[in-house]
Assembly symmetry: C2
C-alpha cells in the first residue's frame, strides 16, 4: 500500500486512469496497464495505472479533474493498492484461443466494457478475438441480450406493434429511412426510429435529418412525439440504448474490423431496447459494399432471423443491390433534396423503388398491407404530410428551401470519353464527399447524374461536387485526380470509335 498526494493533470482518457511515477510503480510491483485500487476515505475504485518519469513526481498520483466530484482536491492523500485485472480479460484470452464463452462470461465482458474497465490494448484484443473466431450462436444471443439489459429499455402499451427498419450500411446516399418510416407511420404503425451519425460515411440518417429538425431527443421527447405521430427521427446517441455498442464500435474503428456477429448483436440490441417486435433489415451486397456476395448476404440474413427469434422479434431481411449509390444526393442537404422529391411522388427512381420495396416488406410483416399500399400512400402525399408532422413536432419547419443550404462552392465533372458506366466506386464517392466537408458541412457532398450501365457521351455531366469552403472543394478535386469514382469504359468489340 502506498500513500500518495493528488496532483490534477489534464488527461481525458476513455477509461479511468491514474498516473504514477515509475519508482512508486516499482514499489507496488505494478506495470503499466495493471490495475490499482485507489482508496479515499471510505470510497475506493479500481483503475488502470500508467507510469511516467517526469509528469508526476514520486509520492504523487496524477488524477483527472473528474475526481473532484468525490471531494478530492489538489494535495489530498489517497491510498493505492495493487488490484486484480478484470475477469473479462481472461475471457477475451479464452475467446482468442477459439473456446466458446459461457453466458456468464459473455455477460461479464459486456459489463466490463460498459463500466469502462478495459484498456485500449484489451479492447483491441477483444475485437480481434471476435473478428477471428466470431460469436457462436449461443454467444451471439447472450451478448445481444446483455447489451439490451445493460441500457435503457423502452416499454410501449401491451400488444402495440412496434416496428423498425435498419440498413447495415456501406452504400452512399441510401437514405430510405425517413421515407419508409413516414409510410409506415401513416399506416398506424408505431415506429420510434433511432439512427446513427456517420463514422466513416458521408452522412448518417441522423446527420441528414438534422437539416430538417432537432434529432437530439430525450427518452421523454421520443415517447411524446411517437404518441402524437406514431414515429420519430432520433439520434441514437441521445438515448442510452445498448451503451456498450458505441464503445465496441470505437474499438473496431481503427482497424475497420466489423465482425458479423458483433454487427448483428449491435443492430438487434438497439432494436430490442427501443421495444421493437417487427424489424426489416436492409442488406446491400456487391462490389465495395459490406457484404461481397449474395451467398454471404443470405447467410447473414439467416443469422439476423435466428437471433431475432430468440429475442422475440419478427425479423425480415431485404437483400438489395449495393454496388452503386442509391439516389442522386450524397451528403446531408443533397440527400434531403432526394427525400423531398420522393415524398412528392417524384424523385430518383432507384431511391423511390427501394423505399417502396422496404415499406412493402414492413407492411406485410405486421399485416398492414404490401408494396401497393405503400405506393398509394406515397403518391397520395400522405407520407409527405406525416413526414412534415414529425419534423414540426421535432422543432423543424416544413418546406424549407434546401437549395439555399447547398455549399456555395461547386464543380461539375464531365465525361472525358464516350462509353458506358461500368463501375461506380462507393469508397471513392465517400472519400470525396467527406473531404468536401460532409457530414459536418451539411451543404457539402456529391450529386450524381448517372448510374451503372448508362451510355455516356464525352462532355456529359457525371456529377457535381459541393463544398462550403473553397479550400475543401480544392482538396476534393485533388482527391478526384487520383481516381474518378465513375468508371467509363468503351463499348465492347474491336471498334471503339469512328472519327
Amino acid at each position: 500500500m502506498l500513500e500518495l498526494k493528488v496532483k490534477f493533470i489534464d488527461i481525458d482518457p476513455n477509461y479511468p486512469l491514474v498516473i504514477l511515477n515509475k519508482e512508486d510503480m516499482a514499489d507496488i510491483a505494478a506495470n503499466t496497464t495493471d490495475r490499482v485500487e485507489v482508496t479515499y476515505g471510505n470510497k475506493s475504485k479500481i483503475v488502470v495505472v500508467d507510469s511516467t518519469e517526469k509528469l508526476v513526481k514520486k509520492g504523487y498520483i496524477g488524477l483527472n479533474r473528474k475526481a473532484m466530484k468525490y471531494g478530492i482536491t489538489s494535495g489530498t492523500k489517497v491510498f493505492i493498492d495493487p488490484a486484480e485485472t478484470p475477469e473479462s480479460v481472461e475471457y477475451i484470452k479464452k475467446k482468442l484461443k477459439g473456446i466458446e464463452l459461457s453466458r456468464k462470461e459473455c455477460n461479464t465482458i459486456i459489463d466490463d466494457i460498459n463500466a469502462n474497465k478495459l484498456s485500449d490494448i484489451e479492447l483491441g484484443a477483444f475485437v480481434s478475438a471476435i473478428y477471428v473466431h466470431d460469436y457462436t450462436p449461443k454467444e451471439l444471443v447472450a451478448i445481444t441480450e446483455r447489451m439490451v439489459s445493460t441500457g435503457i429499455q423502452f416499454k410501449w402499451k401491451n400488444n402495440t406493434v412496434v416496428a423498425d427498419k435498419h440498413c447495415i450500411g456501406g452504400v452512399p446516399g441510401n437514405r430510405t429511412t425517413p421515407i419508409v418510416i413516414a409510410i409506415a407511420a401513416t399506416c398506424g404503425i408505431t415506429i420510434p426510429k433511432t439512427s446513427s451519425r456517420a463514422i466513416t460515411s458521408p452522412a448518417g440518417t441522423a446527420d441528414t435529418l438534422e437539416v430538417f429538425c432537432n434529432v437530439n431527443l430525450t427518452m421523454k421527447q421520443i415517447e411524446k412525439i411517437v404518441e402524437k405521430t406514431g414515429a420519430c427521427f432520433a439520434w441514437g446517441g441521445s438515448v442510452d440504448l445498448a451503451p456498450s455498442d458505441d464503445k465496441i464500435i470505437k474499438a473496431e474503428y481503427p482497424l475497420s474490423l466489423d465482425p458479423e456477429g458483433q454487427l448483428i448483436a449491435s443492430v438487434l440490441a438497439k432494436k430490442k431496447a427501443i421495444g421493437s417486435n417487427a424489424v426489416v433489415i436492409d442488406i446491400p451486397y456487391g462490389f465495395e459494399s459490406k457484404v461481397d456476395s449474395l451467398e454471404n448476404a443470405e447467410k447473414l440474413a439467416g443469422k439476423f432471423k435466428m437471433v431475432g427469434k430468440k429475442l422475440d422479434m419478427n425479423v425480415d431481411c431485404a437483400i438489395t443491390h449495393g454496388n452503386q449509390p442509391i439516389g442522386n444526393g450524397i451528403g446531408p442537404v443533397l440527400e434531403c433534396i432526394d427525400i423531398i422529391e420522393v415524398l412528392n411522388g417524384r424523385g430518383p427512381d432507384d431511391l423511390r423503388e427501394k423505399c417502396l420495396e422496404l415499406a412493402g416488406i414492413l407492411l406485410r410483416l405486421v399485416g398492414k398491407g404490401d408494396i401497393k399500399t405503400a405506393e398509394n400512400i406515397l403518391d397520395s402525399k400522405k407520407a409527405l404530410k406525416k413526414f412534415n408532422d414529425i419534423i414540426v413536432m421535432q422543432g423543424g419547419k416544413k418546406d424549407i428551401d434546401l437549395y439555399k443550404l447547398l455549399g456555395k462552392y461547386k464543380k461539375t465533372i464531365f465525361a472525358k470519353s464516350n462509353g458506358k458506366v461500368t463501375k461506380i466506386f462507393n469508397k471513392q464517392i465517400t472519400r470525396i464527399a467527406r473531404i468536401a466537408g460532409a457530414p459536418k458541412d451539411k451543404g457539402a457532398g456529391i450529386y450524381l447524374y448517372t448510374k451503372l450501365d448508362t451510355n455516356i457521351k464525352k462532355g456529359d455531366r457525371l456529377f457535381d461536387i459541393y463544398a462550403e469552403t473553397e479550400f475543401k472543394l480544392k482538396h476534393a478535386l485533388y482527391l478526384l485526380k487520383a481516381k474518378n469514382p465513375v468508371l467509363i469504359e468503351a463499348k465492347k468489340g474491336i471498334l471503339v470509335e469512328e472519327i
Copy 2:
C-alpha cells in the same frame, strides 16, 4: 486544413498524440485514433488524434511539452490535415485473417512499431493476430531479421566465438546465468551477456546482479569490460538492441499473451544484435511453467534451431524440468546468496547441477570442453575469480555481506502436517515474493527449504518470507492464507498417520 493554436497539456502517451476539440475533429472529418499531419513551418509529423469536449477548446490543439524541442511555444499556430493510417494497420488486419505476410509487410510492421506509429488498440490487435495465427517460418525469420537491423548491432573481431545463453523464463529462482557465464568466460569464450529486468517474475537477472554491481552499461562500457574479462553482466534496456521488442512485450503484457513465434523472434533478435554465433536456450517445461509438455518443449526447440540457422547462429536447446523453483533463494539478494554458494563449490544441488549441465552444453557447442570441464572450473574456484573480476570491472565489490542486505522482516512457515511435497506452485511463489517487495526491494523474497518429493514432518521449516517493511510482510502473509505454495499430501495408502 485547420489552423490551430497550441496549448500544452500534461499527457505522456506511448505514441505521438494530439488532442483536438470535437468540433474541430468533425471539421476535418476525423475520428478518435485517426491520424493527422501537424505542420509547423517546414516541419511536419503524422500523429494519432484524440478528441475532447472540454480539455482543449475549439481552435486549439493539445500537445505534449516535448513539442517544445521543435521551437513550438504556447499559442504557436500549426496546421492540421487528415492523414492516412500507417500501412502496417492493413497488414495486421491481413494477419488477423490468417494470411501470410510478405517480408516487406513484416518489415513495415516492425518499422511502424519502432517509430511508435501504432495506437494501443492497433497494438492489441497485432499481438492478438500473432497469438491466434502465430508467425509462419518465413514471417518468423523476416520479423527477427528486421528486429535486429532496426537496432544497435555489436561487431566483434573476425572469427571470435561469441556465445550466449538464455532461459525462456517462468521458473522462480532459476539464476543460472551468472554462474554459466563465469565458467564460459574462464574457458576464454567471449560472452557479452545482456539480461532483462523482471516484468512479472520476482527478479530478472539484471535485478539480481545489480545487488553486486552496476548493470546499466553503455555500449562502450560493454566492449571494454568484455575485452578485459571476456564477459559482462549488462541490463539489456541500457543498450538499444532490437528496440521493437520492449514495445511488443508491453502490448503482450495486459493479456499475458506470449505467442511462441514472438518469443523466438525476441530472444534470437537480441542474441544476433549482440553479435552471438553460439547460443544455448534453456527451455523449462512442466506444471506452471511457460511450456506445458515435453512434446511442446521439443517443438519450440526445433523452431529456435531453425531460425538460429537462418541467422547464422549455432543454437542448442536444453530442455529442463520447470515444475518447481531452482535453487533456494527467490528475490534478488536471496538469489545472490545461492550464486555465491555455488561459485564456492557448494550451493543448492539443483542450481549447481543445472549450471553445470548448461555450461557443459555451451562448451561442447563451441568445442571448448564439456560438463567435466565446467565442473573442474567451478570446483577450482576459477569461475568465482572470474565472476569477481567482472563485478569489480562493473564497479562492484567482491565478498560483500549479503546477509546484511536481507529484509529485516522475516517469517518462517512450518509444515502443518506430515506427508510428502507433491506440488510447488511457481505462480504463488512468485506472487508472494512480489508482494513482499521483490524485485524493487532487493532484500525481499522467499527462501525455500524444501523441494518436490521430500518427506515432511509436521513442524518442518518449509520456507522463509523476507520483506523490507512490516506492511509488505503482512501483505505477503495475507496472500499466503489463500494458498500455501508448498503442497504437502499424506502418503498414499489408507492409513495417513498413527497417533
